[in-house]
């Protein structure tokens, strides 16, 4: 399916925000809408922030609090002046006729706005996140209609965001959906554990290939060669000296830190005397 139009890159904070505003919606409202903020460039639209806008929807009409939307945008601009309105979002599976009206409003605010739908009702057992852009259709001169064409959606993260999301993923495993923050060596142990898991997957694959259960794949073999070669080949003495000097540095710094702490504690006691 050929996809025309920009690629939509979404940050996880936007999706979390949308889900949160869906959970807090008013009684009786079946869906939530809001504005998307971000930056655009020639081939892509990066969505970095969003806020929800109160609206009323019934069978025949829809009312959106535009004043509120403008106000919120002004407030947000004060914090991040580089973000502009790039489109709007709605929860729910389908696109309704009301969406067309709302989309028209947003096309006044931003050139070629993006419409994002997030299926929070989980109709297909998954949270379908899709983006659309509107395009004209119909016979020119006669009734013109609007068609929403889908776009590719990608998730992008800053590095720190990725680390944050990894931590949040862990709440899935605990039955009470909570997770404390780990410290010190526990973190390093966790990371080492993860690498170990990956290594064992690779090992089982190799053993399968060796015992003939799987057909050897050459490209995978090349990757494995790269992997083994990445461990730097240093002579034992060189490595020993590097290791020792590093350990000495770290021990010295620890000693200094302890000394500093003892010093200020002493100072405290002397003053109070």
């Amino acid at each position: 399916m050929a996809v025309h139009g920009p690629v939509v890159k979404i940050h996880p904070v936007v999706l979390a925000s949308i889900v949160d505003s869906y959970e807090r919606r008013n009684e009786g409202a079946s869906r939530v809408i809001g504005t998307l903020l971000g930056t655009t460039d020639k081939h892509s639209v990066e969505v970095t922030n969003c806020f929800s806008v109160p609206h009323n929807e019934s069978e025949d009409e829809v009312a959106v609090d535009m004043e509120f939307a403008k106000n919120m945008y002004e407030l947000h601009k004060k914090v991040s002046p580089s973000e502009v309105i790039v489109g709007w979002y709605a929860t729910g599976y389908d696109i309704t006729e009301h969406s067309v009206l709302i989309h028209e409003y947003y096309s006044r605010e931003a050139p070629n706005p993006i419409h994002l739908t997030v299926d929070t009702a989980l109709q297909s057992n998954k949270m379908n996140i899709r983006a659309y852009v509107s395009s004209q259709m119909g016979v020119p001169g006669k009734t013109v209609g609007v068609m929403f064409t889908p776009l590719t959606v990608k998730y992008i993260y800053y590095d720190t965001e990725r680390i944050g999301v990894e931590l949040l993923q862990r709440t899935r495993e605990s039955p009470s959906r909570t997770n404390g923050l780990t410290t010190d060596l526990a973190q390093v142990a966790g990371a080492a554990g993860r690498v170990q898991e990956m290594l064992s997957t690779v090992l089982t694959y190799i053993e399968d290939v060796l015992s003939g259960k799987l057909v050897a794949d050459n490209s995978v073999g090349r990757y494995l060669m790269d992997l083994v070669n990445k461990v730097p080949k240093i002579t034992a003495e060189d490595f020993e000296s590097m290791l020792n000097s590093n350990i000495n540095d770290l021990l010295m710094v620890t000693y200094l830190a302890n000394l500093a702490q003892a010093q200020i504690a002493l100072n405290e006691k002397l003053v109070v005397l």
């Binding site: 904070v13 004060k78 914090v79 830190a257 200020i264």
Partner: protein
């Protein structure tokens, strides 16, 4: 809802404050990270407000919004008005609009300052359960989220209320640099729907090919931390010098007072022996004005900051030692 899960709070005494645990929504974490990432690159602190509610002895933080940076040419910018508008708007969309604290980013852990103390004091004075969340982006970039919550101890609150920062005042309250802030354990909670979202994200995103936590290079970070520690130590020694001169001046003055009194008594005794009326007692305190006692609050803050730096350095070095031993094991197998 959330069960208590112990997280290793560094040496916190049993908290007798109204807040024993903090529960943060995943959304708040992401928002704080994003705010720093986009607006805070110049090693300026970024700040924002936390919204939520208090449930029994737990403080739940459910949302937050950032504060714009202070610029010099924005004189007519009214902080209070921005806050009011934001909270009013958020109320329309059913977001908890109760102010429960504020967050700030920090550079290598240097956040113990007068400004922080004042802000937190005014917050805690108005709202008893408020906390300040300190987000350390540099430590987070090294592999795992570093978010800590602090409150002022009741003792420190007392002192700030009375504004009595002299040595006698602080001695009376027996407050040390370790009892200024108390750390509150944090727990992250996500709703079911967010968990579904996270599952979706995990399936669709590519596996990370960066494992910052296993990075072996440490010298850069250590250098900067040690530099900051040295600066603080210099400040500390200056402060101690000032205090020493004050003590010396005070004792010199005491001596002078004694000498003066003695001379007076001698003269009076001589005059009496000669039959003349004794000289009037003069007001000693007017003659010998006591030297100004230096404010001790700064010393406390510096000591607290040094303590914090040392803790961070020790954590960092212990992690790195572990990594070095792992690298040794890897080499050992090869050679």
């Amino acid at each position: 809802m959330a069960s208590r899960k112990e997280s290793a709070a560094s040496g916190s005494s049993p908290l007798d404050s109204p807040v024993k645990q903090i529960q943060i929504d995943g959304l708040v974490v992401l928002k704080i990270i994003k705010h720093y990432q986009e607006e805070g690159q110049g090693s300026e602190v970024v700040q924002g407000v936390l919204l939520g509610l208090v449930v029994e002895d737990r403080l739940e933080i459910t949302n937050c919004f950032p504060f714009p940076q202070h610029t010099e040419d924005d004189v007519e910018f009214d902080e209070v008005q921005y806050q009011m508008e934001m909270m009013r708007s958020l109320r329309h969309v059913n977001i908890d609009h109760l102010h429960v604290g504020w967050y700030q980013s920090t550079y290598y852990g240097s956040f113990v300052s007068r400004a922080l103390l004042d802000s937190q004091f005014s917050y805690q004075h108005a709202i008893e359960e408020s906390v300040v969340l300190i987000y350390d982006p540099i430590k987070t970039a090294q592999g795992s989220l570093c978010l800590k919550a602090y409150r002022l101890t009741p003792k420190l609150m007392e002192i700030c209320k009375e504004k009595d920062f002299s040595p006698e005042g602080l001695k009376k309250a027996c407050i040390g640099y370790e009892h200024m802030f108390e750390e509150v354990p944090i727990v992250i909670k996500n709703s079911h729907l967010i968990n579904v979202l996270l599952l979706d994200l995990q399936e669709k995103s590519t596996v990370a090919d960066k494992h910052e936590l296993l990075n072996l290079s440490s010298s850069n970070h250590l250098e900067k931390s040690l530099q900051l520690l040295m600066d603080r130590m210099d400040d500390m020694s200056q402060d101690i010098g000032k205090y020493n001169t004050y003590c010396r001046n005070l004792s010199k003055q005491q001596q002078q007072k004694q000498q003066y009194l003695q001379r007076r008594q001698q003269e009076n005794a001589q005059r009496q022996s000669r039959g003349e009326p004794p000289l009037p007692e003069e007001d000693i305190s007017k003659m010998f004005k006591p030297p100004q006692a230096p404010a001790r609050m700064d010393t406390l803050l510096i000591a607290g900051q040094i303590n914090n730096y040392c803790q961070n350095i020790k954590e960092f070095t212990s992690q790195n030692l572990g990594k070095l031993f792992m690298a040794e094991a890897l080499q050992g197998h090869n050679s």
